[in-house]
Amino acid sequence: MLSFLNSSGVILIILSLFSIGAVGALILQKNNNLANWWGNGFAIIGSLVSGLFAANILASSQTLAYKISTSFPGLGLSFNIDRLSAFFILIISLITFVCSVYALGYVKHYYRKYNIGTLGFFYNTFIAGLLLVVMASNALFFLIAWEIMSLTSYFLVVYENINEQNVKAGTLYFIMTHVGTAFIILAFFLLYNTTGSLEFEAMKNGASALSPLLKNIIFVCALIGFGTKAGIIPLHIWLPSAHPAAPSHVSAIMSGVMIKTGIYMFIRMFFDILPNAPLWWGICILIVGSVSSLLGVLYALAEHDLKKLLAYHSIENIGIILLGLGSSLVFLSAGLKTFAMIGLIAALFHTLNHAIFKALLFLGAGSIISQTHTRNIEEYGGLIKLMPATALFFLVGSMAISALPPLNGFFSEWLTFQSLFSGATSFGTLTKLVFVLSAGALAFTGGLAAACFVKAFGVTFLARPRSDEAKHAKESDLSLQIGMGVLAALTLVIGVSAGNVSNMLSGVAGSVHGLAGSEIINIANSNTVHVNNEFAVLSMPALLAILLAALLITYILVKILSGKQKITVGRTWDCGTDLTPRMEITATGFSRSIITVFKNVLKPTRQNEIEYDDANLRYFPKSNSIHLELHDVYQSFFYKPLKNLLIKISDQMRKIQSGNMNAYILYIFIALMGLLLIVAK
């Protein structure tokens, strides 16, 4: 069995499983139930096989190379699965497996409204595309896989096409992702120009011949291209509208793993293919990471669409991953490979953690939405009593994303902090300041994320229901609960066994070309993690143990100190009036003070409308409404000027288009003569 998993044939088996799932679902589209089970069933089997396959490669620490030649020039279907690829395959498989189990129950609420067959088709192709992206080892093949992933996810974003908002979000996504792809193509062809090959392996070997200027241009192109997919600010504008539009299990995959393919390619390009990164690359990524994490969480705070809020948190967490990645690049340029390992491990660890808890939160959001049929958290409330399991799992996810111990989010943020601290101890003046400011950004981000999830959890699940839908919500299907439960358990398991996981990740990080030669360090010793030669020591099991012991002692203390007192259930203090749901704090109210503090960044706008009983006698208002909104600074300061510039250039270009056929023939003639002259020379 194990030797079978090592063979390259498994790749084909995995791909064919998803293809059968895709085509079969399309054929069975007449029967909703059958199409659902077929599509998601094959996705479950496929992700299970690919997960085992990746785990096996990680365990045996070998590289699997496999190539199918084609007659098309430059294109080779070459797979090269090293430990970095295997790690990402493992994350993708894990999340898609859980999401597919979840989808078995979740898709039911689309029955008779939408075509289940096409959902199954695009869903399976999407997963296959994701896997191909991290497996491909040829630039052209990679671009094809990248397009499969982008296009299928576009169709999944516009799946609920009755809502016009979703179609709009899809169009924005389609445009932005292709702007990104254009930069990626440019980066690859610049590499091809020097190295003469489209194979990643050949690029890696020939990249040392690149001139510094060319290398910097490739860096910028890759940063924009893959950064668009990862959702870094200010290229993020598609993300908060596209992720919520897709069905929730697809949102979970998009936020959990699809944006991570951008991170994967960052590592592949900057650590593996391009050698000797200059200092400013790392600094640049640190700054991008700080800005994305801080602004991401601030926008999330202002949001009261539950899925949009989660989407903004994806931007925040990509920022945190980039903080680890950027510090690692800085260390690499200074030749401090041991520190560079720590930074990369932190980035990889947070990638894994974010995939888990963000998928968990999106699945939780889906579970709520399937009951309440709205994404507006102001219309929830009190759901903890009606949906206890969803509430518990969402709480675990909220705690993990707020980096609260002993869950997994805490550990990777801790390691990122340590990586930034190491930078502050080993560099002088300006670089040190960047590291310290990044640490400060991360500190504020952690605090604001906790605030945001107190808001999200509190307003959604606690107190009294605010709408009829919320009043009549019921707990979701078993398959939804299983999906969320598995992920919730994983946040704790990975959190507590963080030492072992980081040892595994140090193997992954050490296999990257740029870090080759640094001795593979095991940063954890019997699950106690040591960073920077005893600079910092942390044991997650001890943390869990001490928390449990403290809880136990508290319980015993209360038993000893207090007698048998009565507990009466009564009304909340209502100041003498009847309590209505409108007296509870709303999401807008909760975050209002923080938005006011950051009003120079967020630019909130506010409209008051007062209607009076008597227009002349303005003493008795009939209704008083306040409309709060954030001013979209990216639109007005970045995209609008860009668009205007584009239109201006196009206007100039139009002058040569006279509409006169003779003129066009003249252009063709001139172009032809020009080409002939160049060739003849």
């Binding site: 809880l551 507990i567 509870e584």
Partner: protein, 308 residues
Amino acid sequence: MYSFIPWLLQLLFIPAFAPLCIGLTRKIKAKFQNRQGASIWQPYLDLWKLFHKDEIISEDASWVFRFAPYLVFGVTLAIGASLPLLSTLTRLPTGDFLGIVYLIALGTFFLALSGVDTGGGFGGFGGSREMLVSSLTEGGLILSLFTLALIAKSTNLFSISAVMLAVPSFAIIPAVLAFISFCISMLAESSRYPFDNPATHLELTMIHEAMILEYSGKRLALMEWAAANKYLIFISLAVNLFYPAGLATTLGLGSLLIAFGALTIKVAVLCAGVATLESSIAKLRIFRLPDLLFTSFIISLIAISIIA
């Protein structure tokens, strides 16, 4: 190896003396106001009374509301057990300062949720304000402790204390700046002036009291006690990290007694400092608080940048 008995003693140290700290602070404040004031043991009696009272729980509240006091109190116990209170010897693997900061955040998270849970206006706004203050405190808190970590070349609190016992001369100015920054964070986290008034239920200004408004009986006792613990935790962090004089470096009974004496004096002095501050300044408007917290962040930033 850390044996169990001293660990248990350390675990109970904070809860045993925290109410006394509150009592002392109140007494000094009363003297400032020309009042006799209650005895410094009064907080113990209050807790005892609350533990023996019946409870009313809101019908809107869920298990979060019922469970939160245990967690909030438990977290302070866990932190208390991971601090260098009397000796610098025991390097616990949980004594990392980031671990402590995020454990505090864990308590705050559930405290704020319990405020929202009852569905009253006060609890919700209390939770909102608490998260505003605590999220903006985090930057100054982490960077001020990081200043010390940079001097001590370790993020473990026990190592920091050990190094600060013999402060290298270059570190004095950064440490003083970090201390100022830490004190601002301390006042914010332990709900004291100018951030919050621990003695009032004025609906326009209360933060901590608003969150625990619906609690009664033993759960209120736990919440009050946890708040006292947090106060003492921050005070002992302030004195034992920045001015660890007297801290035991050997595990003899004599040196531990000296350490206990030194800690008592230092804590009493800082309590007096807090009480003096509370008696001499007014509470700030809520939208002035972020300015103060950002100041704390900037001071730490300066402290770090002047460390050679």
